[in-house]
Amino acid sequence: MQFSGRRRKVITSPQVELYGQALQFYGQPPLENMSLSEFESFAVDRLKLLKTIENLGVSYVKLSDDYKRKLDNESRNLNFPYRPDAVPDDRKSQVGPSEYEKRRKDHISHFILRLAYCQTEDLRRWFIQQEVDLFRYRFNGLQPKQKVEFLHKNNLQYDTISVEEKKTLQDKLVNSSHNVSGITVEDQDFYKVPFQDALDLVRTRKVYLKAGYVYIPHQDIVAIVLNDFRTRLSKALALTARSLPAVHSDERLQPLLNHLSHAYVGQDYSIQKNVGKISLEQIDSLSVKSFPLCMRQLHQALRDSHHLRHGGRMQYGLFLKGIGLSLEQALQFWRSEFIRGKVDADKFDKAYAYGIRHMFGKEGKRADYTPYSCMKVILSNLPSQGDHHGCPFRHSDPELLKQKLQFYKVSPSGISQILELVKGMHYQLACQKYFELTHSIEEASFSLNHPNQYFIESQRVLGGGKDIKREVGTPQRSQENSAARGSTTDREAAAAANAAKDLPEMTEDLDSFFQDA
């Protein structure tokens, strides 16, 4: 099927109707034939876009000016829609593809990535998160009139409350949210929405909640829309997963989809490369020299109280697995430490050993759990009273963090640099700065996104540049793979190549990798 790529207002083919709006819920899958190379390139481009979104989301406040500008750039570079044109005008001289083509690319690439990312809970969660962020950015860019149009077109009808009710609730409505003033209450319609449809607003307590309903001014309806988008996408992915066997039977697609889903995380340190290379006696000194601050903190807390709570055991235990502790070593390590505390040998074997074996994929559903990335440590499972896990740059009081860094002999100027970064919410950059200061190097050659990456880089610096690539050649020793992976050595090669590079370089490698395959 050939498309001319130029939209003529006179001719209205069905496809033009389909892409009449800049933003869509991706309700209908594309129904056309396309070449395999276009298929691949669309998918890879969207993946790059989503990766950008992920990284920007950690380094910048979402929808801040910097964030929007960078995302605009990336969208433009990758030929995705980046600003909905009020009036599609192909008489503007456009050097690149038209708005129509961008929307088509957007539509198709979304559905291709669904195929790649529906398979496991983790993949789905990641994909949904980035797609929701992308949607938020685009919806935010619509004009108010276009927003209303979008709502109506997508059947989000909620009831408004009467003027009397608004008056009675006025104070409460104003006090529930920053951007609701007395004037807002007077001028705008307020919608009564069941709380299950507005979870983000409920979670952050940014809305008035009464008897199970939230009261939302028209201007804030975006949170509802996002929630709706998220739910629809989640259901769609579940459905997609069921039809996957049919897709996989097409041999042209299977390798591509596999590579796409494995590429998102780069190196995930789930394959143990150095099993048994680290002895338990080394851990104390390693924790000072080569552990990132979060793991050093956990190790210290473990040594001090001879105990860690569940969140800490998971985060630290998986990290240790990632640096190469074997199951036997891990059991010995935890056991000997816990016994020094209030736990006797029996109780340890009963209550804690199971958990450790579970981490190594020896119990339960035998899933081989991967060590937590920085993203995961920062964003999920907030520490509470009695916990020591999480990211110290994110979760510690700045005062306490400062004291800790002083205690670890970081220079005062270094400390203030770190605190500046923390204030700007650049937690991974702060950790990177900590790396630079503790290893006395000017600038780290990598972009930090995983505690195990920190460890490997640290060992590399301290070992005088022993190349990580050499380890890729050694034959696979780990027996603990559970999920079916395509060709593990290919993946490892790609992953290792990605490990120590920045985003632009990484995606370029991805590209060249696809071309070779």
Partner: protein
């Protein structure tokens, strides 16, 4: 003091007696069956048992109340946990294709544990509790109960004492049982104000405007704060505690207060000084100078474990389960008497077993089934009545009524004739329809009685909701 010298070593002997004669199976089944509105609701529910020697078994499930009783008597669990309602019978989950066996519904639950407050209570730590720190639980229940009802619109809340150091809440509304993981997590976060671990000094930060939820919660805390925090916990009396409190105020205010405190020893007056400082800061319209509120909340506001509430498949200790370390029964709490609830007065298993042997107190006479009609039978009868009253013609009424009149009711009438006021006979081997094996009323002469009575009231309220559902269903199906 009704703890009657509980000794964990006696559990193997006490438990069989407890399960045979005291555990309120009929009420328990009435609860978890939810009126039979949804098919297989009870049958697909997961239970887990902790047996002697810490053996833990999951994925237990039962077809009927009778089967549940039989198994519990056989296995003699030290602890019982209740989990989710699954897509298939949990005890058959291995036969189901992997991926299709899923947790579908469960009550929304909350777990408040006293150890989470260790940094702000001075009287006890870890597993200990006393009347001074129990106030924290009272405050927690008041705040959460109000929020779950007024803000979220839930109506059927069962608060249960955990048996040692905390309370649980089971939200049993249908809407609550159907909540997704994301929704549960959102509810729990809405209710969370105290954030941060050991590394965080200031765990509560308030910004303008103050959400109505925060205002309502503060109103509760303020009622208890002077007596609880100033008087009993003495947070403004000893130097270390004072320092901890002052660590939560802005630096300039701290210096002033440290000065002022030198001349003022009385905690109530010291607190007044703190409040005055706060009013002064707020009057200057500076951003978020709510430190006096932040202090009150950090010391008193409920601390939830979000992870307990998030998971649909999370297993939580069952009401009426025994706590093996203290021997206390996990009893439902009557909120009308919340402020006088004394966890140390909750009956232990040894006490109530002992009470069984004592001669019956006043109110003698035979205990007949007439006194408390079998709840399950009542519900079954309700179902039939609904079918009957929905039909159009009277003649049809009569006919269908007769046709559906169950054999069970006839049987039990016969049993009454044959066995007036005698011992309850176990009805083993009934068919699956019969979920009315027998009513245990022995609990009535023990200290357990008032808690079961309260549970009954809760269930009556809950039953109204599924009566509505049954009516709707029968109308839709035109099933007369």
């Amino acid at each position: 003091m009704p703890s009657s010298g509980y000794d964990a070593a006696c559990l193997p002997d006490l438990l069989p007696l407890y399960y045979r004669r005291l555990f309120p199976f009929a009420q328990y089944h009435r609860w978890l069956n939810y009126g039979g509105v949804q098919k297989n609701y009870f049958q697909n529910r997961e239970f887990s048992f902790t047996l002697k020697d810490d053996i833990y078994v999951r994925y237990q499930s039962f077809s009927t109340q009778t089967e549940l009783e039989k198994e519990m008597l056989k296995m003699n669990p030290y602890k019982i946990d209740v989990g989710a309602i699954y897509s298939h019978r949990p005890n058959q989950h291995n036969t189901v294709k992997s991926g299709t066996f899923q947790a579908l519904e469960k009550e929304l639950v909350f777990d408040i544990d006293m150890t989470d407050y260790d940094d702000v209570r001075s009287c006890c730590s870890a597993a200990e509790i006393c009347s001074k720190c129990w106030t924290l639980m009272t405050i927690a229940v008041h705040i959460l109960d109000r929020a779950l009802r007024d803000d979220f619109g839930f109506q059927h809340l069962l608060w249960v004492y955990s048996g040692r150091r905390g309370v649980h809440c089971w939200v049993c509304d249908e809407a609550a049982r159907k909540l997704s993981v994301a929704a549960r997590s959102a509810v729990a976060e809405y209710l969370s104000l105290v954030k941060g671990g050991d590394e965080t000094v200031k765990k509560v930060v308030l910004t303008d405007p103050l959400h109505p939820f925060i205002r309502e919660s503060l109103a509760v805390v303020e009622r208890y704060f002077p007596q609880y925090a100033l008087h009993e916990q003495e947070i403004l009396s000893r130097k270390e505690s004072v320092d901890k409190v002052l660590a939560l105020v802005p630096e300039d205010v701290r210096k002033e207060l440290q000065q002022d405190f030198k001349n003022e020893m009385k905690p109530e007056s010291r607190w007044k000084l703190v409040q005055d400082q706060a009013s002064r800061k707020q009057a200057t319209a500076k951003k978020g100078q709510h430190f006096e509120k932040e202090i009150m909340l950090q010391y008193c506001y409920p601390r939830l474990d979000v992870n307990v509430s998030k998971g649909v498949n999370h297993l939580l200790k069952s009401p009426f389960s025994v706590h093996p370390k203290t021997g206390r029964i996990s009893v439902p709490m009557d909120l009308e008497e919340l402020d006088t609830f004394d966890p140390l007065a909750v009956p232990t298993i040894s006490l109530i077993c002992e009470e069984l042997d004592r001669p019956r107190a006043a109110g003698g006479g035979e205990e007949s089934e007439d006194v408390k009609e079998k709840e399950n039978e009542k519900d079954a009868a309700e179902r039939r009545k609904i079918r009957v009253t929905s039909s159009v013609s009277l003649r049809e009424n009569l006919q269908s009524f007769r046709l559906q009149f169950p054999p069970e009711i006839n049987k039990t009438k016969r049993e009454k004739r044959e066995n007036p006021g005698g011992l309850k006979r176990r009805r083993i081997g009934q068919n699956a329809q019969d979920n009315v094996s027998r009513t245990q009323t022995d609990y009535k002469r023990t200290s357990l009685a008032k808690y079961v009575k309260y549970f009954d009231q809760f269930l009556d309220g809950l039953a109204l909701s599924w009566k509505g559902e049954l009516l709707k269903k029968s109308d839709l199906e035109k099933d007369f």
